[in-house]
Amino acid sequence: MTLKSRAISRVTMVRLLMAQLGRSPLLDVLVGAAVGSVIGLVLAFVVHYRVDAFTFQAKSDFGGRTTIDASDYASQSNSLDVLQVNDVGLQRVREGPDGEPATDVSRTEHVTVMVVGGDLSELRKYFGENVPSGVSTGVLLDRQSAQALHVGKADQVALLLGLTTDDEVPNVIGTIAGVTLPYADPLDPIAAHGLLILRHQDLPAGTLGRLTETTDPRTQGRVFRYFTVGSTAPNQESRWQLAQRAALGGEGVVRTVLGTAGVAAFGALLWLAVVWRQVRRADDRTAQVRAILLATGASAKSLRSTMTMIHATRTAFAAFLGALLVNAFALRLVLGYVSQVAVAGVVAAYLVVFALPMIWWSRVRQKRLPQRLVQALYTTES
């Protein structure tokens, strides 16, 4: 058979099969896209919240202020206000060729930012003489120094201290070792007395409590959660290294992984069921036409591949449309700094990958059960 003949044959088959399917492929695409986008959005939400949980290991209301009990971290508890600010972050700054800082937002590191009220000198009780005293002065401590400050295995601790209650908090309050710290407290911008930045998972139990214990009891410490873009500290781990290390420990990490995997698995099952139903229905609806084509000389292999093509195209459209919906509805606010396009791509790939078993199943079924197809010749349905 020449290429042209094959094309004529395939087009004829597609035309007949599609005519038999009527509007159902369009409906299947719409239903598939709706279900797929819901799965994708739920997945995105869960990943988002679980990653947040991993970062902070404490549930907080999105975009608002909640209070968590410091007893989570210390035996002597103090009430801490938690403000989640997603659109304010710590950005990695690299020195550009002209010596000016050039922002690189390609890497993100989750850190916990604590704003501690009270007399800064109190902090020295805990952080020793490494705590600088000048206004807008900061230090970036390495692992060793961080450990000396009783913050466990932290790789870096940035202390930015010296603001007083009378100081106006600028958007950027200082630069420490190449790290620019955009900062804004939309609710109470002058409440900051000091700013301690460290990765939350590195925060040893009790540290937060001890810190707040030493501060003026009338002043509450505030914990801000930022998405940051790393730092240029020499001992900075790569994001991959951080992920690896994080994956090895931490209750929040386990919850994150389990939560994400659970939702992904459930979504996959749901999606498989949807695709299975659509594939089976399309196979059933076209059974008689395929049987007639087979009996009149159509190649069984070509028929199978034509059906596979129809299933795959329809599912791909559904996945693509579903991903577009996720992209449209997954607001930046929800997804943080993760690229919406990347999320949509992942969702589309996820939907396509989990549709493949059903498409393959249809192909195998067509091949292994020819009797079922032949039976369609003797049904009364036309």
Partner: protein, 223 residues
């Protein structure tokens, strides 16, 4: 020279609870140009014989030779080619595509084989004229009578001038007068070819030169 040779054919079906043996050691040989009818009640396995010959289903046991080659040795593609060019299949239910015109229905097997539209339409037109349907060429099956639909189906079976015609209850959906017309047309169209006709109606079977009865999975010669 035998065109169809079936030897020791067993075929059974199962509905999950029970197994039904429809063919038990069936033997059948049909020579070139012979017209044969197999008569039997519904469910006796008549259709299975046609489907096995066409390679649509496989026997559980036994050998089937069609046009000099064992079907078991044919590839999937080889069986498709056998059905395309070696066998013309006529069904009781016509199995025409309702969305296609009579002409397009007849041209369908040729289009499936990749023939250009002009060639396939010309051949289909010629066959439909032979079937007396020149004025119904552009009519779609739902607007054709049962007899007309079956004539379109016969034309479709003849497009590649196949040496074998398999007809499965071709008059089963027609009234007696129309059935007679269709049978005459089928037999005349099959002239020079091998015709294997499946029917439960012995008067229809009388149109053929050789008749068998299918009973208990085996054929009995009716003369």
């Amino acid at each position: 020279m035998s065109v169809i040779s079936m030897t020791g054919i067993d075929k059974s079906y199962s509905d999950g609870k029970r197994r039904y043996d429809v063919l038990r050691g069936l033997d059948l040989t049909i020579e070139q140009g012979q017209s044969v009818a197999i008569v039997g009640p519904s469910g006796s396995g008549k259709t299975s014989i046609l489907n096995i010959i066409a390679g649509l289903i496989s026997p559980d046991r036994g050998t089937v030779q069609v046009l000099g080659q064992d079907n078991a040795t044919r590839s999937e593609e080889g069986l498709s080619q056998l059905r395309a060019r070696g066998i013309g299949y006529v069904f009781q239910a016509f199995h025409l595509m309702p969305q296609l015109s009579a002409l397009e229905n007849v041209a369908l097997p040729m289009r499936i084989q990749g023939m250009p539209s002009s060639d396939s339409r010309a051949r289909a037109r010629s066959l439909l004229c032979e079937m007396g349907l020149a004025d119904r060429i552009d009519t779609k099956p739902p607007r054709l009578s049962g007899g007309e639909q079956q004539r379109v189906a016969i034309a479709r079976a003849l497009v590649f001038d196949p040496p074998i015609i398999l007809a499965d209850e071709p008059t089963g959906s027609l009234d007696a007068d129309t059935a007679g017309d269709v049978m005459r047309l089928l037999v005349s169209s099959a002239s020079g070819r091998t015709l294997l006709l499946i029917t439960h109606d012995r008067t229809i079977a009388a149109s053929t030169t050789t008749r068998y009865a299918l009973q208990h999975g085996r054929l009995t010669d009716l003369g």
